[in-house]
Amino acid sequence: MKELHFPWLESSILIPLIGAIICMFLRDKRQAQRVAVIASGITLFCTIAEWYDFTTLNSFQARDHWDMIRWLFGDDIFVIDELTAPVLPLTALLYLMTIVSTLSTKLGRFSFGLTLLSEAIVLATLSCHEPWGIICLLSIGCVPPWIELHRRKASTRIFNIHMGLFIGLLVCGWSMVDHDAGSGRVSLLPTAMLSLAALLRAGVFPLHLWLTDLFEKATFGTALLFVAPMTGAYAVMHLVLPYAPAWAMQSIAVLSLVTAVYAAGMASVQIDARRFFSYLFLSHASLVLSGLEIVSTIGLTGALCVWLSVGLSLGGFGLTLRSVEARIGRVKLDRYNGLYEHTPTLAGLFLLTGLASIGFPGTVGFVAMELLVEGAVGVFPLAGVAVVLAATLNGIAIVRAYFRIFTGRTFQTSAVLRSRPSERFAVIVMTVLVLGGGLWPQPGITSRHHAAESLMKIRSRTLDAMEMAQSAPEIDEDNSEDANASNTEKLIPGDEAEPIIDPRLANPFDFDDSETDVRGDP
């Protein structure tokens, strides 16, 4: 595996971790915010540098230079690949923007230490290639929101039930896959358990109550950062997609599409802005999930593009809503709030990011959504109709929210509500990214297309291994060891070592570039 020129991956995980430790010792919240801004800013720089360094290698995946983790554990745990290379800077950007745009009215409630800790965990999750590592990190990732809920003396029961079930299913499912991989096949039960876990984390209907509950009880920033990086989709890509049979993929896709339409409908009738946002996000996340299950290059490319565009646009959208909340408290959508005259910049960003999320022309989501719909129509026409219907309802919900929050009357207050310099900075960055990605989409599409093809190849490779294992003759229990060895030999010709587990089944993402180099010319 190729190496980066610097340990960017470990740095991008370590820096927020150090920042989190410093923040936890600081009593002055403003000082903590400054530390958090510096730490997350450096982290963003590391992830961008990591992405750039990776693209110069022209490889599907690469590991760190001076890889300490490899030296300690003897395995490539943190690896950057084409799938996650742009997701890492996007995640770091969302954290930076959230920290930067936190206003003084929110300082008392928002924990910068926990936020940086969660940033380190999310970046580690997205960099991790070891299934058990992903499972551990996904489980640890549930802790910071839980601590915040607990600190706010809010009930954690719904969160506990859902996340406990999620972790339990992941652990049990992967233990079975590990066990099955020894015999060269993956049976139905672990696939179902892993799929269910993925559905739970992604909040697919009817397992989505935790998501709206979290948005209602946690701070907006924490809830947003817990869901926006879409680690559930990452879990699907690594733990479900390579193994799941066609019927399982189609079932997940159908459930995701139902959720996308249902959540879009729910978003359009909400009277609480947080619940509105949670449903809006759920609808978009479900579209991404459905695209991941479409299993066509165009559909998968569309899903990966929508992943990025939704992360960026709904991240910006959520931050705008958070800024509005910081000014007038919880926002109700059953009345007109009339904030436009006070915050025209925020109103503009709200509309722009909202429209980008539904794939409005000229924004980052346009081509992504076209690809997703095209892929869906190609596989099953009704799926395409569902995607378009969800986008239509989301579009109506977003403009309704815009009118309710920013127009309808003039908000009377003696306080100065205009946007602060830090918020204006966030607005300009988001606008440039949303419009830049929309007007010049080719580099992003090419990158996601390569990634989609790689993912298809990995799936093909794993399914081949499973098919070969299933077509092998039944094994006598007494001679199972010999048979297993010969079976493995058949699977990996020329491998003289004696691996009991076919590596293609144990970890499908673990391979040499020479073996699965799907990249074309740079």
């Binding site: 066609a246 000014r327 005259e341 409005f360």
Partner: protein
């Protein structure tokens, strides 16, 4: 080369205007009213002169169409054998996967978004008309909107609209047409809600947006179906090699019926044909210049333009043509009756406009494309003049009536002669209620939808409460933020 440059000027002039006004708004650079108006006028003038140059070239050279290619905006081509393998293994539809005919596992699945503009007998008149009317309205709005608090916002939306119209008119691919179509929809909805310190314009803006979104959804589906059938969104491939209006659609009758129905829904939404006519009077909440140019002149004709552009698809299915003619006739009767009972001049003009649009749709359904095109241009110009003149006509009429000391004399209409009082009252009621179309849409679609999802919301909240147990969220409400902000 020169032709390409001139063509580029046509497309770039509104795009540059949008970039200038948008950037100024983003970095909060305050442009003066004169600067904004001059930019708008310059944009319209450059675009108009450039498009007239192309028209002159076409007339002089006898060329019926001048394509302007900018290459692929987005291009994606798959050639990975294993990817094809997986698709083949998982595919449920056989029309999507495209394995090579020679049996090799090479996937030809690809996606292209071409930036192509076409100057032909349909697009050139339309784009010239767009520039002329946008220029006129830009000059009119410079005075009309003077010292209005949303002056900058008006011109920003105006620039989005102008760009949308130009892109739609010149689109050489269905995706580019969709691009412009959406820009027109967004700017229209936002301009309806221009006076946003009152709830009513915002409600109406949302209504317009909702109708447009459903129409756009139909358009998107049609675009994707066409893309699949022809392998590309290029009109040249879809409509055959003949230039407009003599192309022959390269699809079967049933395919044409499917695609054409979707496009007809899209056109009905944009042109306020039945059953979507309810948004038209609501759109008159916007400032007069926008009402004149959008709902009286350009935007309302965009549906007719779409039908003209896909004329060969309509000709491929007689059922579709019957549907188009029927829709036009029904809308015509409805609009004619409704226009007569409106009590405000803008609504009356908007329904009068709809009558003409529906006649244009009938003409398209009958295959009279040139007549329809001439009708569009003539009607758009007349209606813009009427709408722009409307406020001063009212004042003139008032002045006349004050001078006379009575209402202006009116000749008795045929209604009084031929129709009984009772029937007239029924017709009046029918027209006044706008054929109950809004009520039907509300009662049969909007309200059941809202009720169903509100019910689901209540169930979810109850479930959440049940799962949550007794411990209530103590610090979830950030209501104190408002107080904090207030104190500061």
């Amino acid at each position: 080369m020169l032709l390409n440059f001139i063509g580029l000027m046509v497309v770039a002039s509104p795009a540059v205007l949008l970039a200038v006004l948008g950037l100024a708004a983003l970095v909060r650079f305050r442009l003066t009213e004169i600067a904004m108006a001059r930019c708008a006028q310059a944009s319209s003038m450059i675009g108009l002169v450039a498009s007239l140059c192309i028209l002159a070239f076409m007339l002089a050279s006898g060329r019926r169409d001048v394509p302007l290619e900018f290459g692929d905006w987005v291009s994606m081509h798959a050639t990975t054998p294993d990817a094809a393998n997986v698709e083949n293994r998982n595919s449920t539809a056989d029309n999507h996967d495209a394995l090579a005919d020679d049996g090799t596992n090479e996937s030809f699945e690809s996606f292209h978004f071409r930036l192509k503009f076409v100057f032909d007998r349909l697009s050139v008149p339309f784009v010239v008309m767009s520039f002329v009317l946008c220029g006129v309205i830009g000059a009119f709005a410079f005075k009309y909107m003077h010292l209005e608090s949303g002056y900058g916002r008006f011109f920003l939306f105006y620039s989005i609209f102008q760009l949308g119209m130009v892109l739609s008119s010149l689109a050489g691919t269905i995706e580019t047409l969709f691009f412009g179509w959406e820009l027109v929809g967004l700017s229209s909805a936002l301009l309806v809600a221009f006076f946003h310190d009152r709830p009513s314009p915002c409600r109406n803006g949302l209504r317009v947006w909702a109708v447009y979104r459903f129409a756009d959804a139909a358009f998107l589906m049609a675009a994707l179906v066409l893309h699949h059938l022809a392998g590309s969104g290029d009109f040249e491939l879809l409509m055959g090699t003949g230039s407009w209006p003599y192309g022959v659609a390269a699809i079967t009758e049933n395919q044409a019926l499917l695609v054409g129905t979707l496009l007809l829904i899209a056109a009905a939404g944009k042109s306020a044909l039945v059953p979507f006519s309810g948004w038209l009077p609501r759109a008159m909440e916007g400032p007069t210049p926008s009402s004149a140019i959008f709902y009286g002149a350009l935007s309302v004709h965009l549906g007719a333009f779409l039908l003209l552009r896909v004329g060969p698809v309509l000709e491929a299915s007689w059922v579709l043509r019957v549907m188009v003619v029927s829709l036009g006739l029904v809308t015509m009767v409805f609009a004619a009756m409704t226009a007569r009972v409106q009590t405000d001049v803008k609504s009356a003009l908007s329904y009068a406009s709809l009558v003409q649009v529906s006649i244009i749709v009938v003409e398209i359904g009958l295959g009279l494309y040139y007549i329809a095109l001439i009708h569009v241009i003539g009607h758009a110009c007349v209606r813009t003049l009427q709408l722009v003149r409307a406020p001063s006509v009212l004042r003139d009429t008032n002045a006349l009536e004050n001078a006379l000391g009575d209402h202006l004399p009116t000749a008795p209409s045929m209604w009084h002669t031929w129709v009984s009082d009772a029937n007239r009252e029924r017709f009046y009621r029918f027209g006044w209620e706008r054929a109950y179309l809004d009520c039907i849409l509300d009662d049969w679609i909007v309200n059941p939808f809202v009720k169903a999802f509100r019910y689901a919301d209540r169930i979810e909240l109850a479930l959440t409460k049940l799962m949550d147990g007794k411990r209530e969220a103590a610090t979830t409400v950030d209501a104190s933020d408002a107080e904090i902000a207030g104190k500061k």
